[in-house]
């Protein structure tokens, strides 16, 4: 078959399609279609009977009537904001700066320690915390308190938020650590030496030189982690399951409970659809910011 180059480029040549097909298929079936379905279900009263009755915007209107929503919103806000600020950015930066100032060997050891929770299966990571914070006198924390003469505490019931933020923060800090470390290491040594020769103190170097150079990585971690914190609920599910009395229920967990505990799929989807929209908006926005096309060089070989 003879075609001119112009029409040839209109369609994917067949081997190309074969290479792409599995990926396209999976992404369409489990990404694109579910995004659409979430929208459709949110307009129905779908429940345990699995009947697709359209109710218009009733689910979204019901969100405003739901007495628990203000609480859930506040929980989500506090959770995302504190975890992101204190741990993902704050602790991540501190760890990156501290390890970057060390010789190779100790730096690698400390980075490994901090990456460990990330590669521990999440269920076991939560188990570790449950053992640490066990309310009986057997918990590691209470054992330490007993050594100091203090009475045992049940932190998970008394201060659930602090615990959840800490648990999520320790795994999240490692992402910041890795990204910021890579960015710090790509700063030319000469720049730091020059600053040093000019008489800058370490604090000045960090504040006036390194932090401005880390602007993009910081932006990146902020957008990426905000989205993943908004959506993540695994740790909360395993630690408190939203309790005690909805004290730690966040947006996605509330949606999850509606769908899979109460079989109120319509209402659950209305809730997640809000997040889907936020997710799309933030992704679009960040892709604008991170000047996407610059990262995509055009291949010199055309289809073969």
């Amino acid at each position: 078959m003879h075609t001119t180059p112009a029409t040839k480029r209109l369609w994917l040549p067949s081997p190309l399609l074969l290479f792409l097909l599995p990926a396209l298929l999976l992404i369409v079936v489990f990404f694109v279609v579910p995004i659409g379905i979430t929208g459709v279900i949110s307009l129905t009263s779908l429940d345990y009977r699995f009947r697709w009755d359209f109710v218009g915007l009733a689910n979204f209107l019901a969100l405003f009537q739901d007495a628990l929503i203000p609480r859930v919103l506040l929980n989500t806000g506090v959770y995302v904001f504190t975890t992101l600020l204190v741990f993902h950015l704050g602790l991540g930066l501190v760890l990156a700066l501290l390890t970057a100032a060390l010789p190779m060997r100790p730096a690698v050891i400390f980075r490994m320690i901090w990456l460990l929770p990330r590669f521990t299966p999440s269920v076991v990571y939560i188990l570790l915390w449950r053992l640490l914070l066990d309310p009986t006198e057997y918990g590691l924390l209470n054992r330490l308190r007993a050594a100091l003469g203090a009475a045992p505490v049940d932190l998970l019931t008394q201060h659930p938020w602090s615990v959840i933020v800490l648990v999520n923060g320790l795994t999240g800090a490692s992402l910041g650590l890795v990204i910021f470390t890579a960015a710090i290491e790509s700063i030319p040594c000469d720049l730091l030496r020059a600053a040093r020769v000019d008489g800058a103190t370490t604090l000045q170097i960090v504040w006036r030189l390194i932090l401005p150079l880390l602007r993009w990585p910081i932006m990146f971690v902020t957008t990426y982690q905000t989205l993943s914190l908004l959506a993540s609920f695994e740790a909360i599910l395993l630690l408190t399951n939203g309790g005690p009395f909805y004290a730690t229920e966040v947006w996605t967990l509330y949606a999850y409970h509606h769908a899979f505990t109460f079989s109120a799929f319509g209402y659950g989807c209305a809730m997640t659809f809000v997040l889907v929209l936020i997710g799309c908006a933030v992704s679009l926005f960040s892709w604008r910011i991170f000047r996407f096309t610059r990262q995509v060089p055009t291949p010199p070989i055309e289809n073969g």
């Binding site: 999976l26 279900i41 501290l98 060390l102 901090w114 299966p121 053992l131 710090i184 990426y224 992704s283």
Partner: protein
């Protein structure tokens, strides 16, 4: 690098100070893992930090048929976990190798759009689609099957995997591929014979990552697997933690947790270099 002082004694004391700071910050993490290990062989499990007597009693789940009536055998559960993780790894890596190559090296209409949507989905919080995916699996009759959850897991990680693989392909110099093509190889042969051997570190890194993420998966398995026969280690350990059923046996909890964590820990210890190289699906501009 930051502590680039001239005087070496000053630098050494500075380093010592930094190491002390980091050690203080890191102690809780190390203690937690150590505590798990010690408690799993301690005869009184949590009753003392240092074991008063040794026992393998907490590890009985490895050789008894079941730890509780109605519970699946640990080796069946481990088999499920292994099957799940390996399948996720093989599928994810091979699909990403195929598509990542096309995205990196071919010029075709819609390439930019495809790349953009991949990147877009990559930051997208996929877990929010869990309710809709439930209905997709139900329609495909894949609910309550490990195969169904595998496909979901692979699909949701694919944007990340594609992007990483595309990055590794981008790093191969063009003349290598040009030379092969000029010598008469077709693009499939070039891909298989010339390019794949060059990105072996990338394949290793993504394989490790995919395996570990499959091994650790919990929420999707919890939601889409309804029968105990399809349990994986994450479900097994979570149930000992008290997922619904009251069942607190600290010794068993620590031993089972350790058993589940061990392969992940081993891989991490052996291959952390590869894993750190993988930018967690993150590209800093």
């Amino acid at each position: 690098m930051l502590g680039d002082d001239d005087s070496s004694t000053l630098r050494r004391s500075y380093h010592t100070l930094l190491i002390a700071c980091l050690a203080l910050l890191s102690t809780p993490i190390v203690l937690m893992y150590l505590w798990l290990l010690l408690a799993s062989v301690n005869r009184e499990s949590l009753a003392s930090f240092l074991p008063t007597g040794w026992t393998l009693q907490h590890w009985r789940f490895l050789w008894v048929a079941t730890i509780k009536p109605g519970y699946p055998n640990i080796w069946v559960v481990t088999g499920n976990s292994l099957l799940f993780a390996v399948a996720v790894m093989v599928l994810e890596v091979s699909i990403a190798l195929l598509a990542g190559y096309v995205l990196s090296r071919w010029q075709f209409r819609g390439r930019l759009l495809l790349l953009q949507s991949t990147l877009l989905l990559h930051a997208f919080p996929a877990i929010t689609l869990i309710i809709a995916v439930f209905f997709v699996l139900r329609a495909l009759h894949l609910l309550n099957t490990l195969a169904g959850v595998m496909l979901v897991k692979v699909a949701l990680e694919l944007p990340f995997a594609l992007w990483v693989m595309k990055g590794f392909f981008d790093g191969i110099p063009w003349p290598v591929e040009m030379a092969a093509l000029v010598d008469g190889a077709n693009r499939f042969t070039t891909w298989y014979r010339i390019l794949l051997p060059q990105i072996r570190p990338g394949i290793t890194a993504l394989s490790l990552f995919a395996f570990l993420s499959g091994w650790g998966e919990y929420v999707f398995l919890l939601t889409f697997i309804l029968e105990k026969s399809g349990w994986t280690l994450s479900r097994y350990v979570a149930s000992i933690l008290g997922e619904g059923e009251v069942f607190v046996d600290y010794g068993l909890m620590t031993a089972a947790g350790l058993f589940y964590m061990f392969p992940a820990l081993l891989l991490f210890a052996v291959a952390h270099k590869y894993l750190i190289r993988l930018p967690f699906g993150v590209d800093t501009p």
